[in-house]
């Protein structure tokens, strides 16, 4: 028998009853719920890495101590790793970057731009 269910959609169904919101602004709660889900997935990935490390150690491929004591062995590796951090942080804090750009360069609204374009 083939799975008759769209399990991804079904998994997130809402239970009966109007959902209570606790923060003054429900948008805050929405963001919190998304953040917690992401936080959970990070914990899941972390547990998976832990499993990998332990298995690698058990099989004698490397030891966890080697991981702890690891230092980049070349300038190249150093910059690859630091670049990853830099890119990662920009990714999470995108909204802050954009608000700064907006402060620096106050923009017209899209309505205004539409009106402008209408004249072009």
């Amino acid at each position: 028998m083939e799975n008759p269910i769209d399990y991804i959609g079904i998994a997130g169904n809402k239970p009966k009853g109007k959902r209570p919101y606790f923060f003054d602004d429900p948008a805050v709660e929405r963001v919190l719920n998304i953040t917690m889900a992401v936080g959970m997935e990070l914990a899941v990935a972390r547990e998976r890495i832990d499993t990998l490390e332990r298995l690698l150690e058990e099989k004698g491929i490397l030891s966890r101590e080697e991981i702890t004591n690891y230092v980049p062995t070349s300038k190249d590796i150093e910059s690859q790793r630091q670049q990853w951090h830099s890119e990662y942080i920009s990714r999470i804090l995108r909204i802050v970057q954009q608000s700064m750009e907006e402060v620096k360069n106050p923009d017209k609204t899209l309505q205004e731009i539409a009106d402008d374009i209408n004249q072009m």
């Binding site: 399990y7 079904i10 809402k14 606790f22 919190l32 959970m40 547990e47």
Partner: protein
């Protein structure tokens, strides 16, 4: 600070032939949620602090008096940032637990049905009845935010909600009820056996048995008894029966029966049990069900009900209010209303002799307790594994 009272890792859960398969990451997700639940149980203490230190003084300052009612207290607490954060996170963890359990069970919906069907085939101990529908109160709400409640089948023979319940209980209770989450059932079975040695029940009924995890410990301690579990949820009965067969039980029958209209003869059971059931009924049904229990119980028979602790008069208004949190925010609406009924009156109204009424506390038996799960745990508003049990002998 060393971490205390860590929940057991999910792999400690007892498995059986119909238990859902889980990937590494699905188990890790449950580990995260169990730990989050523990954490939230700890920071729930901040609600009482916020009440004493912030909310109550501010109200007194403004109005020159204390709170008059739970509603007034609740309105003031609802504006407190700690309470808001705790509540939002607690709602969130419950929703995440449902989503995690639903995605893993519905992913294998067809396999689960096939495994269950194979174990149930040809057995006369599973008795379904299409004429029995779930009571209206179960259709009005999805208790503890479980979409579809206990009865919904998304296709013929679907048992996912039961499998989801089985896999997730260990997470919501942070493993405190043992490997089979049956610590409550074990505790009541042992109490009946040890404290009442004259009592030799031959026919035992468990009302609202669900997937039967608390029914089986009774069948185990009373192997010569005929044990019947009833429920209105077909997925629970199908899955519960297959689970019992898989675990080697042959003295338990699972029947689709509505508790307020039982097809059993008068005075036909020695012991009628309910476990975490009455608070998920309704204001009229609870009386109908208790009357049915009285009718079906033999003279000299016993009925016991494991429930949430009652509210007592010496409990503060705040304590009563926070204990209602689950009623409204975890969709357990009757939990709060039931607290307005005195169980002694409930039983007396339904025929029991008030002189026979008894109330005891049982502590869940936890086969995972290795001494690190000690009782320095702060009490988490009715979610601790010490349960209130009330009941009576029919005399």
């Amino acid at each position: 600070m060393a971490a205390k009272n860590l929940p057991p890792t999910y792999d400690k859960i007892a498995k059986h032939a119909v238990f859902p398969e889980m990937t590494h990451d699905e188990k890790a997700r449950y580990n995260f949620i169990a730990n989050l639940n523990k954490h939230l149980a700890h920071v729930s203490q901040g609600n009482a602090l916020a009440f004493e230190n912030e909310v109550k003084p501010a109200f007194k300052n403004e109005h020159g008096r204390d709170f008059n009612s739970k509603d007034e207290l609740g309105d003031a607490m609802a504006k407190n940032l700690h309470y808001q954060s705790w509540s939002a996170l607690r709602r969130c963890t419950m929703e995440m637990r449902q989503q995690a359990g639903r995605s893993l069970t519905y992913r294998q919906a067809a396999e689960l049905k096939e495994k269950v069907d194979a174990l149930n085939a040809g057995k006369d101990t599973l008795i379904l009845n299409d004429d029995v529908s779930p009571p209206p109160y179960l259709q009005a709400v999805d208790n503890h935010l479980m979409p579809g409640s206990y009865h919904t089948e998304l296709f013929e023979g679907d048992v996912c909600n039961a499998a989801n319940y089985d896999g997730g209980l260990f997470v919501t209770t942070a493993g405190l009820l043992g490997r089979y989450s049956d610590g409550g059932g074990q505790a009541i079975a042992q109490w009946v056996k040890n404290e009442n040695s004259h009592f030799q029940p031959k026919r035992i009924l468990d009302i609202g048995c669900g997937m039967g995890h608390n029914t089986l410990p009774i069948a185990k301690l009373f192997p010569d008894a005929e044990v019947i579990g009833i429920d209105t949820g077909k997925p629970m009965l199908r899955y519960g029966h297959a689970r019992a067969v898989a675990l080697g039980y042959d003295n338990v029958k699972f029947m689709q029966v509505e508790a307020s209209e039982m097809p059993f003869e008068d005075e036909s059971f020695d012991w009628i049990q309910t476990t975490m059931f009455l608070h998920e009924t309704g204001g009229k049904s609870i009386y109908n069900i208790m009357r049915e229990i009285y009718r079906c119980l033999k003279p000299g028979g016993l009925t016991m009900h494991i429930e949430q602790p009652q509210y007592t008069d010496d409990m503060s208004m705040y304590e009563q209010w926070i204990r209602d949190w689950d009623a409204y925010n975890n969709s357990e609406p009757y939990w709060s209303k039931m607290h307005d009924i005195d169980p002694k009156d409930l039983m007396a109204d339904c025929g029991f002799n008030p002189a026979e009424f008894m109330q005891i506390g049982v502590k869940a038996i936890n086969d995972l307790d290795d001494g690190t799960q000690k009782s320095d745990e702060p009490e988490d508003h009715g979610r601790s594994p010490i349960w209130n049990v009330f009941g009576a002998w029919k005399k």
